[in-house]
């Protein structure tokens, strides 16, 4: 992805602060124009992964009244490499960042909201909660994480929203009861979810069972979580005579493009369905990480979104549209 567009600019890493053992807050001071992020916004950051320039999107944290962008990055043991790069940065590091954009906008004037965060998914949810608190809206925040010590931003949030923040801790054996939470939401209320794909799928299933209008469930996914941890796998494309390794920290799409396979892709986060390829056979399990296919389509395993989906325990054989 190019960083030469007009919305990119240089920025300085003003400071970093660890929120938990593996979540770090970055305060980024843009060198040029500042555009205030609205809740749900993200900025893109140019990163280097094994010497390759790549772009990562991070949700902005807070309302940025002081013209400083804040993002929080979780250090992932196996990631696509963005978090490792970010965690190596020191104060005063120079960055290239985009202006904020918002694919996860918060509606205004809804009678009731339930905001659901899983782990690092707290970042946009935190900003939304602050904005709703400012307008005296009716809302609750459900924040699921491993333990209280892992609940980044929870203390800050609690000082503003008090007991409207509900922590749901794995180590206490707690789980979000989506059925019950959706049932207590006002009829025209909205639910916002940012978290791992398992949580999102649970929310979608419960929402659908509730009979509510689908558009009332809002969610964002960066396509980087699946049912399984990322691991390396092999991909074969007989039509092109290709047999490639997909390392744990690279996407299938990236590897195909690097090998010269002609691909059309757009969102690169499993939403649009443009990078889909047909599956000829799979040896192992396809970890569908997109939100483009329905559950039935995923179960049928006939196609996959190459930008986010992966294979566990084996290899996959794909076809392409090349003729």
């Amino acid at each position: 992805m190019s960083t030469s567009g007009h919305s990119w600019q240089r920025a300085r890493l003003r400071s970093v602060r660890d929120l938990t053992a593996d979540v770090r807050l970055f305060e980024i001071e843009p060198s040029g124009a500042f555009i205030a992020p609205t809740p749900g916004s993200h900025i893109k950051v140019a990163v280097q992964i094994e010497g390759r320039p790549e772009v990562r999107s991070y949700s902005t944290v807070g309302l940025s009244a002081d013209h400083i962008y804040r993002i929080a990055v979780k250090r992932a043991p196996i990631s696509r490499g963005g978090s490792a790069y970010m965690w190596r940065l020191q104060d005063d590091a120079l960055l290239t960042i985009s202006a904020p954009d918002n694919h996860f906008p918060l509606s205004h004037g809804c009678p009731d909201y339930v905001l659901v965060a899983g782990g690092i998914g707290i970042t946009p949810i935190h900003s939304m909660a602050l904005a709703l608190a400012q307008t005296n809206a009716s809302f609750r925040v459900l924040y699921a994480c491993r333990s209280a010590a892992d609940a980044a931003l929870a203390d800050e949030l609690r000082t503003v929203i008090g007991d409207r923040l509900v922590l749901v801790l794995d180590d206490a054996g707690m789980r979000i009861d989506f059925e019950a939470e959706i049932a207590r939401l006002a009829p025209a209320g909205e639910c916002y979810v940012c978290g791992p794909i398992g949580m999102l799928e649970a929310a979608k299933a419960a929402w659908q069972r509730s009979g509510r209008l689908a558009a009332g469930l809002r969610y964002e996914t960066f396509g980087n979580s699946g049912r399984f941890a990322s691991e390396a796998f092999r991909v074969k494309i007989p039509r092109l005579g290709l047999d490639l390794d997909v390392p744990a920290n690279r996407s299938l799409l990236d590897v195909l493009e690097a090998a010269g396979v002609g691909m059309i892709a757009d969102c690169r986060r499993g939403e649009c369905g443009l990078c889909v390829l047909p599956i000829c056979s799979v040896n192992g399990i396809v970890d569908h990480r997109d939100v483009f296919f329905s559950d039935e389509e995923k179960a049928a395993n006939a196609r996959l979104c190459t930008c986010v989906s992966r294979v566990v325990n084996g290899s996959i054989t794909l076809d392409t549209g090349h003729r």
């Binding site: 919305s7 500042f34 609205t38 985009s98 918002n102 205004h108 558009a215 939100v291 483009f292």
Partner: protein, 359 residues
């Protein structure tokens, strides 16, 4: 958007008369934002970005499907909150798919839209336009949509009524206006120009309204509410009966109302009315007053528009040419200072507004 913003976005702007918005798609451009308006079956007005998320076709070229809008190109459907509820040829909906939903409110017989940061859209900030409610004051106005001048030229026009003497000779124009001093006062959000003409012959229009012979005291108390509403409290009362001290019982009182909405740089929508609190049951008088203002080029507002559009053309063919100011411009200059302050304040803290941005 132009290099220098000509209007603030964090404001309520009139977009339509309430009666104009029915269960049909209506397109308006407000502050450079293409917006589609419609009335839902529950009576509430919806205002969406008039541009499909997918390929930008104006949604106003599509059709209503219940309370949702279906794009006329590929059938994407958006609800009145701007959320996509249908995509063709797939079983799921891209969660990013939405169009902007604008804060919208109905008050004073107008539909108001807030084109700026929705988080700041406070209903208490809707301008005071109660004269237009159709209760104590009556009158039937209208709208000049897409008037080819910057909305601030209309503010100038209304904040300095000296022009009546020259533009509206024979109706409300009178030499007394130019001969009488005026006072300008201002607050954080308004500017008021007050002129009292004591013991004058009424100009022809006001002579007919008061319906009695004799000299009058005439007042013009014109208040600008930033950024774009002007209300002029105008009238005449028999001279010596105490009107300047507050007793208007021996006179007639009207108000000219202007809600000026930037369409884009250099053009505006001008929602106007002329209301009165006398002979309020006289339907024929309401019609006559409307004709007096707009009448196939013969009305007083028609006269203004010729001037305003010609002025805009002159500005455009003379880029960078300054305006020089006279003392009569004090009210207009206070109004512009308030507008400029709002624009500067917003420029210092721009906000991500569009769901769709480049990059």
């Amino acid at each position: 958007m132009g290099q220098t913003q000509t209007f603030p976005l964090n404001a309520w702007y009139a977009a339509a008369w309430c009666h104009e918005i029915v269960h049909e798609l209506a397109a308006r451009t407000i502050c450079g934002n293409a917006i589609v308006l419609y009335r839902r079956t529950d009576g509430a007005v919806a205002a969406l970005e008039d541009s499909c998320w997918h390929r930008l076709l104006p949604l106003s070229m599509g059709r209503l499907k219940g309370d949702d809008v279906m794009c006329g190109y590929h059938g994407l459907v958006f609800n009145s909150a701007g959320r996509c509820t249908h995509m063709p040829a797939q079983r799921t909906i891209n969660p990013s798919a939405c169009v902007r939903a604008y804060p919208v409110a109905e008050r004073h017989r107008l539909v108001w839209i807030w084109p700026g940061d929705p988080a700041l859209a406070d209903l208490a900030k809707i301008p005071d336009f109660h004269w237009n409610d159709g209760a104590e004051w009556v009158g039937e106005g209208g709208t000049f949509y897409s008037l080819k001048c910057d909305y601030r030229l209309v503010v100038d026009n209304l904040m300095d009524l000296t022009h009546e003497t020259y533009v509206h000779v024979g109706s409300i124009g009178d030499e007394a206006i130019t001969e009488t001093p005026f006072e300008v006062t201002h607050t954080q959000s308004s500017a008021t120009m007050t002129r009292w003409m004591i013991n004058i012959e009424p100009p022809p229009f006001w002579g007919r309204q008061i319906g009695r012979p004799g000299r009058v005291d005439r007042w013009q108390i014109v208040t600008f509410q930033s950024p774009s509403v002007v209300v002029g409290d105008v009238g005449v009362a028999m001279t010596g009966t105490g009107a300047p001290k507050g007793d208007r019982s021996q006179g007639v009182n009207g108000a000219f109302l202007a809600a000026l909405t930037p369409e884009k740089d250099g053009t505006c929508h001008y929602f106007w009315n002329f209301v009165r609190n006398y002979r309020t049951d006289d339907v024929q008088l309401s019609r006559d007053l409307q004709r007096m203002h707009v009448n196939d080029g013969q009305g007083v507002y028609d006269q203004d528009h010729v001037v305003l559009e010609a002025q805009q053309r002159a500005i455009e063919v003379n880029p960078g040419m300054p305006f020089y100011n006279l003392n009569i411009d004090a009210g207009a200059l206070w109004a512009r200072r308030l507008i400029d302050a709002q624009i500067a304040q917003e420029a210092a803290h721009p906000v991500v507004l569009a769901a769709r941005m480049a990059g």
